[in-house]
Symmetry: C2
Subunit: 123 residues, 2 copies
DNA sequence: CAGGATCCATATGGATACTG
DNA sequence: CAGTATCCATATGGATCCTG
């Protein structure tokens, strides 16, 4: 039985999987999740450097969204300068398991399978 | 081992899972997949009626995209009037299995679990 | 360091009208 | 019937500048 329920009233209305998908949809989000997942918890600046090309605006938006969904956590230490660390929550871990399946599927479909190679020299 | 590989050169460059996600991202796409998956192959007009509110433009775009990815097929019969039927391919089936997991996760997270109820009266 | 505020370019969806 | 073509409103990302 499929669990992709149709919208109650408004076709685009709040539907669990739509909510989840819209969180994952935007540019950078998957890459951000991948970084958090494989490289572990990191500070804002580190994330920005690893995700080369992302703007602080979008990085902040994505992190806030992931935090709001309980996928990532935010650890704020009000030192000077402040130290803010982000990482995946248990939910984030659950999600990554499924995303890995999706990635695995995508790799099979599209041929490229860097699964056991990690990142390239260019990364 | 996670399979969400980082982009080779351009951070937003072609990456299997990004490609796949961008296909699923837009409005209506998941709902369209859900309809095709649960209600079976259907003609263009039927789809439009079931997905209440979608424009022909977007419906066409989505179907073309799914077709291009091998997720859906298009069966065109040049009768008058023409009869075009869309349905999920084997790939589409594979994809739905994973999306179901995602939906199941989303339902657990967000509480709503219409999994054994199917659609509502409004659907 | 970790963002918030602002301005702008662009992509994309919605609505409508038209056609083989 | 199954689209295509067009115009428009809006959302969203990118770049830049500023600050506790």
């Amino acid at each position: 039985m499929h669990e992709l329920s149709p919208p109650p009233d408004d076709p685009k209305a709040v539907c669990p999987i739509n909510t989840l998908m819209s969180v994952l949809s935007g540019p950078w989000t998957l890459y951000l999740l991948w970084v958090l997942s494989t490289k572990g918890p990191q500070r804002f600046g580190e994330l920005r450097r690893q995700i080369n090309g992302i703007s602080t605006k979008v990085l902040t938006e994505r992190l806030r969204m992931l935090e709001a969904e309980g996928i990532a956590y935010r650890d704020y230490k009000p030192t000077i300068p402040p130290e803010v660390t982000y990482g995946l929550t248990a939910r984030g871990g659950e999600l990554m398991e499924i995303l890995d399946q999706l990635a695995s599927l995508a790799n099979r479909w599209y041929g490229e399978a860097p699964s056991n190679e990690g990142d390239r020299q260019r990364g």
